[in-house]
C-alpha cells in the first residue's frame, strides 16, 4: 500500500509543488489543509502515515496544530516545512513533537530524503 500523506500549507502554490513531488514518487495524497485547524480535522478523518506542516498560517499555526495532532496520536509523523527566518519556530515545533524539518525552497530530492528518513525511524 502506498504511503499516505497529508499536506498542510496556506499557499495553494506550495501544496501543489509538494503534491507533485509525492505523486511522482508513488505516494498517495491523503488530504490537504490550508491552516492548522483544518489540519487537525483532516488528520482525524484520514489518519495519514505522514503530515507535512507549514508553520506560519492563519487561524491556527503549524506549531499549535502539531501539539493538537500529537495529543490525538503521539506516534504521528510530522515534517515541518518552514521558510527562512523561522528557526525559533522550527525548534518549538520539534519540541512539540515534529520529527524533522525542511526549509523552503526545497528540492524534490531533499523532501524525499527527509520523508523516507522519518518513515524508516
Amino acid at each position: 500500500m502506498p504511503v499516505r500523506i497529508l499536506i498542510v500549507d496556506d499557499a495553494i502554490f506550495m501544496r501543489s509543488m509538494l503534491k507533485d513531488i509525492f505523486q511522482k514518487n508513488n505516494f498517495e495524497i491523503a488530504g490537504e489543509a490550508e491552516n492548522g485547524r483544518e489540519a487537525v480535522k483532516k488528520f482525524k478523518e484520514c489518519h495519514p502515515d505522514l503530515t507535512t506542516m507549514d508553520i506560519v498560517m492563519p487561524e491556527m499555526n503549524g506549531i499549535e496544530a502539531v501539539k493538537e495532532i500529537m495529543k490525538l496520536d503521539p506516534n504521528a509523523k510530522i515534517l515541518m516545512c518552514s521558510a527562512l527566518g523561522q528557526e525559533a519556530l522550527v525548534t518549538e515545533s520539534i519540541e512539540a513533537g515534529a520529527k524533522d524539518f525542511i526549509i523552503k525552497p526545497f528540492s524534490p530530492k531533499m523532501v524525499l530524503k527527509v520523508v523516507n528518513q522519518i518513515l524508516n525511524q
Binding site: 496556506d10 499557499a11 502554490f13 506560519v56 520539534i94 527527509v114
Partner: protein, 193 residues
C-alpha cells in the same frame, strides 16, 4: 524540477496577497494598534517570500523578507505601527507589485533599490531598540509616544549603508539558512532529548 508550470500559480497567488496587503494597510492607517492586521500583514509577506524562494525569484524574496522582518519586530513588541513604517510598507509593496508585473511580462525582475532596503533595515533596528507605545495603556505610553514621534528624525539621520554590504549580508544569510537540513533537525532533536 520544472518550475515553469508553477509560474502562473505564483503570479495569481502573489497578486491575491498584494491585494490583501493593501487592505491591511488601509485598516492600519485607521487603527495603527490593530494587532490582527499587523499579524496578517506579516503572514502575507511571509507567504510571498516562501513562494518567491521556491521560484528562485531572488529580488522578490529579498524585499518580502525585509518587510516581513520589519513586521515581525512590530508584532512581537505589540506596538502601534508607526506612520513611518506604514510609508515604507507602502513603498515596498509598490515595488513588489512591479516585480510581480516583471514576472508576468517575462521581464528581468528588478532588484529593490538599495535605499529602500536600507530604510526598511534601519527602521527595523530603530524599532528593535526603542521602547515604543504599546497597544495596551500603561504608564510609559506618554514617554514612549515621544520616542515614536522622533522616529522619522532618527531614520533621516541614519547613515546610509553600503548597498553591496546589504546584498552581501542577505546572500550570506540565505546561504547559512539554506544549509543541510536534516542534520539540523537531528541536532534539534538531540537538544530536545
Amino acid at each position: 524540477m520544472d518550475m515553469s508550470k508553477y509560474k502562473g500559480m505564483f503570479i495569481e497567488e502573489s497578486r491575491e496577497h498584494l491585494k490583501n496587503i493593501n487592505s491591511h494597510i488601509l485598516e492600519l492607517e485607521k487603527d495603527p494598534s490593530n494587532q490582527a492586521s499587523i499579524n496578517n500583514l506579516f503572514r502575507e509577506y511571509h507567504s510571498i517570500k516562501g513562494m518567491a524562494a521556491s521560484m528562485s525569484y531572488q529580488p522578490i524574496m529579498q524585499l518580502s523578507h525585509s518587510l516581513e522582518d520589519l513586521l515581525d519586530v512590530i508584532r512581537k513588541k505589540k506596538i502601534e505601527i508607526p506612520a513611518s513604517s506604514i510609508s515604507l510598507i507602502f513603498s515596498g509593496t509598490d515595488a513588489l507589485e512591479g516585480m510581480i508585473d516583471d514576472v508576468s511580462s517575462d521581464r528581468e525582475i528588478q532588484y529593490p533599490s538599495a535605499e529602500l532596503l536600507q530604510h526598511i533595515h534601519d527602521q527595523e533596528n530603530v524599532l528593535k531598540q526603542d521602547r515604543l507605545k504599546t497597544t495596551s495603556n500603561d504608564d510609559t505610553s506618554v514617554d514612549a509616544q515621544a520616542e515614536t514621534d522622533s522616529l522619522d528624525e532618527v531614520i533621516l539621520e541614519a547613515q546610509p549603508l553600503d548597498p553591496e554590504e546589504i546584498l552581501d549580508t542577505v546572500t550570506a544569510d540565505s546561504q547559512t539558512e539554506s544549509a543541510p537540513l536534516s542534520a539540523e533537525g537531528k541536532a534539534l532533536e538531540k537538544k530536545k532529548s
